[in-house]
């Protein structure tokens, strides 16, 4: 039987190219591209590596988002995934991580059988790292987050992973089915190939709404989310200090030390 992997992915704005307009304090979003979230690309890459080794492997990428998130699925299919699922419904809009994981849980249950669920550790727009573990909780799967090294036995049951810690790592063994979340140290995601882009067009993409996945509508969307945004704002700019000037490096260095001394910090 084919080994089945579900990869959870998210389309995100590239936060690295977002800048703040210093005059108005608002975000400049013009020309900010939507990209496949970095850690999710690592999750997909690891799934593709399993497929490289065991060509019978079937990879389904699931995402939740607006209709244009289909582009992300096409990208994943062009990289080598087999099937895409987009859950798109106004009813799930405004979901926090709890409500998002309810939606993705329902979508994964509808996809059906799986051996492995692979997600990125966190998305760069929210940085919460919560959705992966929360899906795992709802699917009653064991989880390992911050996976930086992965191997699977040829029985396709026994998994060994390295989980990154702040000051090292831990080695963990577990069995399928399980949920893993990837970090960038895990691998280097491959690029789409020309032939991949061609064949992607022929691979199935399913677009499902909340009704299709049979999720309880009282557990998704803004109203159902336990957390709400109370206020949001741009951080106050720290007042600009002084630029020290002098004819030589020695002179400015001395000025700096005098200033630091005057502030009683040295």
């Amino acid at each position: 039987m084919a080994f089945k992997i579900i990869v959870c992915a998210k389309q995100v704005p590239d936060t690295n190219v977002i800048k703040i307009n210093p005059k108005t304090g608002t975000l400049i979003r013009d020309g900010v591209p939507s990209i496949l979230n970095h850690d999710d690309a690592n999750a997909l890459e690891e799934a593709l590596k399993i497929k490289d080794q065991y060509p019978d492997t079937h990879i389904t990428v699931v995402t939740m988002g607006p209709p244009q998130a289909k582009d992300l699925l096409l990208e994943c299919l062009a990289m080598g995934a087999d099937e895409g699922v987009l859950v798109s419904d106004r009813a799930v809009g405004g979901s926090d991580t709890w409500a998002t994981s309810n939606t993705l849980e329902a979508a994964i249950r509808k996809i059906g059988e799986y051996d492995l669920v692979f997600a990125g550790r966190q998305a760069i727009d929210g940085d919460t790292a919560q959705v992966g573990p929360q899906i795992a909780e709802k699917l009653h799967l064991p989880q390992v987050t911050y996976v930086e090294k992965f191997s699977i036995d040829k029985n396709l049951k026994d998994i060994t992973v390295q989980r990154q810690l702040e000051d090292g790592y831990e080695t963990i063994k577990l069995k399928t089915p399980c949920m893993l979340t990837a970090i960038k140290e895990l691998n280097t995601p491959r690029y789409m190939t020309i032939s991949g882009i061609f064949t992607a067009q022929k691979k199935p993409i399913h677009v499902w709404n909340a009704k299709d996945i049979g999720v309880d509508l009282t557990t998704v969307g803004l109203e159902a989310s336990p957390t709400n945004v109370f206020r949001s704002f741009t951080p106050a700019p720290k007042g600009k200090g002084i630029v020290l000037e002098g004819d030589t490096e020695a002179e400015v260095s001395k000025k700096l030390l005098v200033n630091l001394k005057a502030k009683h910090v040295i």
């Binding site: 210093p22 108005t24 940085d127 080695t171 803004l222 206020r231 260095s253």
Partner: protein, 433 residues
Amino acid sequence: MAIEILKDKCIGCGLCFKSCPYDAFEFEPYTGNKAGKVAKVNAKCSFCNQCLTACKFGAIKEKAAEAAVDLSDYKHIWVYAEQRDGKLMNVALELIGEGYRLAKEISEDTKVCALLVGDGIAHLADECYAYGAEEVILIEDPLLKNYTTDAYTKVIYDAIMEKKPEIVLYGATHIGRDLAPRIAARCNTGLTADCTRLDVKVSSYIEFAKKSTTLDTSTLDPNDPSTGIKQTRPAFGGNLMATIICPRTRPQMSTVRPGVMQKREKVAGAKGELTVIKPNIKEDDIHVKLVEIVKSAKEIVSLTDADIICSGGRGLGGPEGFKLIKEFADKVGGVVGSSRAAVDAGWIDHSHQVGQTGTTVKPKIYFACGISGAIQHLAGMQTSDIIVAINKDPDAPIFEVADFGIVGDLYKVIPQIIAEWDNAEALYDASTK
């Protein structure tokens, strides 16, 4: 909370369009005003509430939240006192300090409780008391010796169900960020990640907002008696700050970035209440097998504890630049930090990285050497007491936040600072004469 456009007040000016980070506004035809159109919120809205204060005509309103259920069964603040290998993590002590502050803001009889989970760790209770914990909840079992998601989630969830805390705080460590979402999902409650500021009283929140944010506080009532937690965190890669609430479920849960909150002054010999909970845990509950824990040989970088940090960035030009940064740090008694660019280039290990995806720091002095100052980097260091920027490019954004800037070649400037460092006192005396 959802956004509502009051059509009779909207004049179709489009001010809200500019405030929206998500491109979620469009116009719809309307005959009731001169412009013949009013703003409309589309499906891209992420409910960030940026537009609330942008509208000068009072046409944007948050839809009121549904009535709160009775949440009064829940009391006290818990801090997950993370320990590894029988040692408390620093962030646990910081959170006890923060939990104490919040508890007293809620009411005199609200306690801060440290939750200790492990095996053979009872001795850590005294350290929790010394830093302000009024109660320690101790859960010990040989199966809890090392952290596993399954076991820790189960025993903490059981304890929460039994004792019903109002708030649970976790350090946003690699373990806290694995554990907290799992517990929150099992409790069907909200969790806010990586908080950098917590408030319970509206008046404290207003004070914070006035001091360190651009938020218009005129819509907030300082006499509001509610004490629901207001959790402020960076979002959108640090470009935006969001304050999150959890109005309808309990406990309210947050993970908090290490290095952000203040420890209380240690009171040696302080005592508090001890509650021992016998956990209900079996080997079958644990579905993973921990084979080994390896401390990497890499140098331990304690950025969060450092008084002085000397950080290098892309401007170093190559990995060898960190030799100079190390020499600088050794001279001033600091530790070496770096920007993400330097880590991504492979010049230095990730453990040195300061910023949104690295460590948050607030040393007494932060030397940014050859760091341009990307917003993600600033998010992790801008609360430093003093920031010194050394950069060739006078237009680098780092100078916007630096207390003292030096425009110049860091390879020439830093050796001079090193050479003169021990003379600072004399130089200062000479300058005041």
